[in-house]
Each structure stands twice: as C-alpha cells, then as structure tokens.
Symmetry: C2
Subunit: 340 residues, 2 copies
Amino acid sequence: MAGEREYVVAVAGATGAVGREMLAVLEQRSFPVKEVRALASERSAGKRLPFRGGGVTVSVLGEDSFAGVDLALFSCGGALSRRLAPAAARAGAVVVDNSSAFRMQPGVPLVVPELNPGALRGHERIIANPNCSTILFLMAAAPLHRAVPVERAIVCSYQAVSGSGEKGMAELRGQQRALAEGREPVASLYPYPIAGNVLPFVERILEGGHTPEEMKLHNETTKILGDERPRVSATCVRVPVERAHSEAIHLDLSGRMSPEEARAILSRAPGVRVVDDPERNRFPTPREAAGGDEVLVGRIREDLAFPGGLALFAAMDQLRKGAALNAVQIAEELIRGALL
Amino acid sequence: MAGEREYVVAVAGATGAVGREMLAVLEQRSFPVKEVRALASERSAGKRLPFRGGGVTVSVLGEDSFAGVDLALFSCGGALSRRLAPAAARAGAVVVDNSSAFRMQPGVPLVVPELNPGALRGHERIIANPNCSTILFLMAAAPLHRAVPVERAIVCSYQAVSGSGEKGMAELRGQQRALAEGREPVASLYPYPIAGNVLPFVERILEGGHTPEEMKLHNETTKILGDERPRVSATCVRVPVERAHSEAIHLDLSGRMSPEEARAILSRAPGVRVVDDPERNRFPTPREAAGGDEVLVGRIREDLAFPGGLALFAAMDQLRKGAALNAVQIAEELIRGALL
C-alpha cells in the first residue's frame, strides 16, 4: 500500500495463532502502519512479539485500549468481541472482527474482498470476517456461481487443527509424538484423539444435529453473495493437518458448465490458483496451501451422476486467507475506498 | 460355524495386510478349516504366519497351488487374480476375490452378505468382494434405500492408508516419525507426503477427471443393489489414518424419512452400530472403528438445504469389513446356502 496516510492498528488477541499471523501479514504486505498495538489477556502482558525486525510489547486488552486507534483487528473469541468491539468502535476505530459474534447481524458487512467489497460501503465501524470454511468454499464456488448460478452445493470439509488456535496445533503435535513413540495419544481439547483419526465434529453438535461450522457455511454464503442460492449443505470434519483447510465441493449448476470452462473462470479469479493436472497427478493439498496466500483449486470434473453438476477440491491456509489475510485485505479495501 | 464339513482354505496374498487379516478372521470366527494354505510370492516362501496358536508356512502362489482346495480367498492384486483365479476355479475351488478384476463382470456375484446374499446363487466359482469404499457406503445407505429409495448420493471419503496395504501403513508411520522428529517427511508410495496432509487422490486420475475409487462407488453400487438408484457421485480422499475408512454421506431420498426413523432402521441393520448422541458429542471415528467388525454410523440429520435429504457419517475398519471379514462372511454364506 503506497497511500500517504499511516494508521494506528490494534491487534486484539495478538498472541493467538491468528493474532500472530495478523502481525506477520501486516508486515509482509507493507500495510501503512504508523503504530501497532498488540493486545491480549493479562497473562501475556509484557511479552514481545515479532514485528518489522524489532518487536512489539503486548499490553492488556480492555475497553480503554482503543483511544487513538484507527483500525482494530479482533481475533480473541466471540465473547470478548461482543464486549469490546463496540467499545473500540465508540473510541473511533474501525473493527474487523474474526469471530462469529457480528457476522449475521444486519448492517454488519460480511466480506471476502475478492467477492463483495461493495458491502463495505456504509459500514458502521464493525465489519465481520467470514468463517474460514465459508471463505474457502466461496473463493472456489462464487466465481463459478457468477457465471452460471449454483442451485445447491454439498461441502465436505477436511479441517486443520489451527481452526482451534495454538491449542489445537499443540494437541496434534503432542499426540503425533505419542504415536511415533508408541504411546497412547491423550485427548484434552477434542473429545477423542485427533492424531491418526478424523472427527466429524467441529466445536459441538447443535439441536437438529448440525455443527455451528455447518450452519455458518449455509448462512454466511447467503449473506456474502446476497443470494438465496446456492443452498449449502455441509459435513465438517477435523483432520490431523496442522494449518490448511480443504473441502470437497459438489455443485449443482442451473445450466451447463464444462470442466474446461470452470478451469478458465477460476484461472482468472483473483486469489485463486488452479492446481489441476490429472495427467501428472497434480491436485491441491493442504500441505501445498500452508503458508501461502492463494486458494488452490483442482480435481475439477463433471459430476459422475448428476447432469449439470461439477465437483472440485480446494485447499487454503486457514490462518492466512481463512482469517488474518482476509482481515488485512478488508482493511486494505477500506483504505482503497476511503472508508477508514 | 458349527457345520459338519471342514474345508481346505487357500489364502492367496497371505503376507499382505488383507491376507494376514483373512487368516485372523478365519480363526476368530472359527471358520470350519480343515487345512489352511498360505500362498504368496517367492520372496515370502518359507515365512511363518500365525494361525490358531501354531502357524502356517507360506508356499509359493502359482497355477498349481489349488489342487484339493475348496475355498480360495484372493487378495494379491488384480493382475494375479485375473491370471490365477480362473486356474483355482478350474481346479475345483470357489474363489472369493478381493481385487477389482471380476467385480463388474456379468455372471460374477458382487456381494455384501448383509445386503445381497441371494446373488451367490448360481455362482460360477468366482465371487467378487466389493471395494471397501462401496461396502462402507452401502452398509450405511442400503438399509435406508430399502425403506425409502435414495435417488442420489454424494459421498466424500476419508480413507485410511491401509487401502494401499502394508506399504501404505509403513509410509504413514515413517512420515509421522519424521514429523515428530522435526524432519521433512519423504513421499515414495504417494505423490506427496500423507502425514499431516490429505490427498484428494486414490490410485490415479482417469480421463474425465475421476479416480478409479470414485468410479467403483458409482458402478458397484448399481450392481449390488440391482437398481440404477442411487446415482452415486464421490470425492475420494486419502487421510493420515492407519486402518479405518470414513465417509460423509449426503442422500436425496424419494420421500421423507426423519433422522429418528433412519436411526431406528440402522439400529436394526445387521453389521451396523449406531453411534449418534449429539448431546454427549458421540459420533463415529475411524479410531473407534479400527479393529472392530461393525460399521459405525452417526451424525444422522436432515440435510440443511435439501428437503427430503439426509446426511450421515460412517466409519469402518478397512482391512476387516472392507476386505477380509466381508470375504469370510461370503464364504460363510456359501456354506449356509450349500453353495461351497
């Protein structure tokens, strides 16, 4: 960003997996930062976090943390967001919140910058970052939907433990070490071991039998696209992968689209990289997506059984495009639109 | 089995992951074995394999291995099956073949004993064991389909490395050790590391973009059910799990079925155990399925977006019900029907 103005940026939840990534992304993208404030719980106060060669000292997150702040990136869980994001907004900051607290609230823009930047116009100082699974799905499906409307989508996820933050990654690493040493893996964060296992379960199971993750894919898609289509059904599954999510996506289109057309559309879609060479067995994997900014899409093919159907597979770094990168891109879009 | 007759049983491919499991299942189910012949490649000749306390010595698999054999359980790959199963049948054995060589051949029964035992009648000495992914899908879906026909199914798999045999399991273990020790995992069997990763790729990608595994789910389902419905579309994905496969299954039914009705039907289905208690976060996992005989089914719920749709999640030990157990159950069914 080569703008003239520089901004005071607060990162609420700076010591978490997403918070650290937010600091890294601000630095890597040369976001016009005048001053950065790393905010976290009392326990982390005084800790140093890396930023631009030097570092930044963590201070305690509270209602009075936001005086003079222009932009507040929140990633500290729904309860704290609900309490402190309005305080930050009252203090004059524009909040980009990574929790689910405000996503479905009318008047709060829910934004993937490549897809619906226009929703930022008229914001009321709180902007919501969509759930990672929704971002992954829409980065792959929305460009196709805009060419030929998708009536229905079935999404089965292969979600990394980074979705549970540092704790999830530590749990997986500890259990993998146990398995490698012939010990029993001990579950503490999840109800069962995740190493050598998959759990068709993200967070909890609601009445009706769906998980919040599955509901988010359904509800957020409608809000972001501003369209009741596609209707999305999902099964969300945690897999023993550290930081990139994947999704198998089956789409029912309202008209025909060949795999070649889909590949051409996705090749032009910003933020997407097509990795799809059946002859060389090239396809997206979470390992290849990890650490990168792009959403990888491949295995693009006609549905075996449903005429007008397309199937594909997508992978994305959950901490970057699924959270920190998308939030910083929203901030960049605010600057571009003179909305910050 | 308390029959009077005992049988000479050959296991072709006895040193492989499925072959060893076949010997274990024959013993555990007290199959009426008069004599067991463990057959494998020259490399393994002379090796001792455990069977009934004592053991059995491996002899070389060849055209002349089957004199006097009543039942030959084959698990040595399609090429050897194509060459040697007809020789075994000519020598008088009934062959239950675990490869894909004969599955779609007209006149060859393709059998899941709980679902279509009648297909064994009139067999011509070669019987095919379905692919593991098909068995898992149908054990969960066929009982529902018989109550209210399923028009369409979308299956996304979470497949264990045991599907690639001992080699797959060794590759995963080696890579997991590497990760635990901070080394780079080295891929040899699969095109990319499988530890800490998922691969939307089983075997290879065919023209048209599907994998053989995805085609098998589609084609074998039709043959086993003797019904063009359900039309099955699949995305088959390898995950870093050792020996049990899982599947997320989304069904479009031709009429309404509530999750409670589905749960009741599956609770009565032989070989199925319903593990589905949303309030206690109880659901099927491959870790719980491993080593067991039952197909675990849970996360039974209405489709979020499609009226008349049902979603569920199933897990099954790939080496047992997905291969060795199903083959031995076919043999038991042959005895029961005086077809051996």
